[in-house]
C-alpha cells in the first residue's frame, strides 16, 4: 500500500483517482503510523511552501517523512517535490525536508509569463526508473512559479522554459516531480506505475 499524505493541501484526490484508475493500492492518510507501515509514500501538494511545511509540522509528520522517505520509495509531486529540498524562498525563507540538497526559488524566465503552466517536454538528464519505457518526446503538465535549484547529479529530467527548469529529481529512494503526473495523460500514468513498481 502506498500512503498519499493528506496534510490539507489540494489535488490529493486527483492523485488518488489516478492510482485507483491504475489499480494500484493507495490510501489517503494523515497518520504517522500509516506512513511508517506503508510500502511507499506520495507527498502531493498545491499551495505555498511555508504554509505546507507548517501544516506538515502541525500534523506531526515532518520527522516520520524524513525517516521513512530514505527507507522506501517516496515521490513528491509539485509542491510536494519542492518540500523535499533544503530550503524554500516562497514569501520567506523556510526550511524544507532536506531530503535532497537544493533551494526552491522564484522562476525568472525572460519574456515568459509566470506561473509556468502547460505541457512541456521532458529532457532526460540521467537514467531514472520512473522514466522507464518512455520515449524521448514526452510532454508532461506543469503548473508552478517556483523551481528547484540543485546539483545536476540529482536531476533526472528537466524542461526548457526560458532557462532549464528542474522537472524530475532522484536521489536513492527519494523522487520528486515538479509536474503533475496525475494530469499528464498516459505519460504521467506510466510514471506513477513505474513508481509503484519500485515497491518490492
Amino acid at each position: 500500500m502506498i500512503a498519499i499524505v493528506d496534510y490539507g493541501a489540494g489535488n490529493i484526490f486527483s492523485v488518488k483517482n489516478a492510482m485507483d484508475y491504475l489499480g494500484l493500492s493507495a490510501e489517503l492518510t494523515s497518520k504517522a503510523e500509516d506512513i511508517r507501515n506503508a510500502d511507499g509514500i506520495i507527498l502531493p501538494g498545491v499551495g505555498a511552501f511555508p504554509w505546507a511545511m507548517n501544516m506538515l509540522s502541525q500534523s506531526g509528520l515532518v520527522d516520520v517523512i524524513k525517516e521513512e522517505a530514505v527507507k522506501k520509495p517516496f515521490l513528491g509531486i509539485c509542491l510536494g517535490m519542492q518540500l523535499i529540498f533544503s530550503k524554500g524562498y516562497e514569501f520567506e525563507e523556510t526550511s524544507g525536508l532536506g531530503l535532497i540538497d537544493g533551494e526552491v526559488k522564484l522562476m525568472t524566465p525572460e519574456n515568459l509569463s509566470i506561473p509556468h503552466i502547460g505541457w512541456n517536454k521532458l529532457i532526460i538528464n540521467k537514467e531514472c526508473p520512473l522514466l522507464s519505457g518512455l520515449g524521448d518526446d514526452e510532454y508532461v503538465y506543469f503548473v508552478h512559479s517556483y523551481a528547484a535549484e540543485c546539483s545536476d547529479n540529482d536531476i533526472a529530467a528537466y524542461c526548457e522554459y526560458g532557462n532549464k527548469v528542474t522537472a524530475l529529481v532522484n536521489r536513492g529512494t527519494v523522487y520528486g516531480a515538479q509536474f503533475h503526473p496525475e494530469k499528464s495523460g498516459k505519460t504521467g500514468l506510466k510514471i506513477l506505475r513505474n513508481f509503484a513498481e519500485l515497491i518490492k
Partner: protein, 253 residues
Amino acid sequence: MLAKRIIPCLDVREGKVVKGINFVGIKEVGDPVECAAEYDAQGADEIVFLDITASHEGRGTMLDVVRRTAQKVFVPLTVGGGIRTIDDFRDTLRAGADKVSVNSAAVKNPQLIREAADIFGCQCVVVAIDAKKCPDGHYTVVINGGRIDMGIDAVEWAKKAEELGAGEILLTSMDTDGVKGGFDLDMLNAVCSAVKIPVIASGGCGALEHFTDVFEKTGAAAALAASLFHYKELTVGQVKTELKKHDIPVRIV
C-alpha cells in the same frame, strides 16, 4: 518550450452532452464522461465542459459529471458556464476540475476574478471573453451568447482581467463562431499583444489549416473547438499531426 494545446469543448446540459441544431433545437448526443475519455485518448491537452444548464438544480448534476470525469480522465479539466460566486469556484474545483472559467459574472463583477485568484491561485481562473467587431474597428464584449453588447472594449477587458489575476483568457469571436471559415486572427492578435497570459483561441475553425494559421499567425497558446471534434470531422490526433508537420510544438500521444 511549451506545447501548443488543442482543447475540445463539450456543451453539457442536465448531465448530457448536447449540440444545438441551427440555433433552434438542442439534441442530446452523449455522455460527457465517455466523450471526455475519448478526447483524452485522442490526445486532447485539456478538456472544457461548458455547462449550459439553465436551472439551479442542474448544478449538482454538473458537479457529479465533473467528479466522474476526474476518475477517468487524466488531463486538465476546465469547467465553465453559470459560474457566479466564489462558492461556485470552490464546488467545481473540489469536484475535480483543474480550472474554472467565468464569463458574464466577471464582466458584471470584475472583483470575482481577484477573489478567486487570491483564494485558489491564478492558474485555475480562466476568463472567457465573447467579443465581436464594431463598425469602428474596435472589439466589443458581448454576453448572453452574443445578445447583449456591454459597450466594453475587449482588449481593455482582457488587460484588466490579467491585472485582476486571470491565469488565462479564453477568447471567442462571435463574428467567426459557427462559420467554420477560420479563427478570428485579427481579434486574437489584438488581445495576444495586449496580455502576457496565455490566450485560448475559440470560434471559427472548420479545417486543418485553420489550426496551423492560428499558431503561425497569432500568439495563441491553445485552440479550442467543439463541433469539429464532436462530429468527427477531425480528430485531435489529425490536428496535431498536421501541426507537427509545420514544426509547431505539440504533444503527440
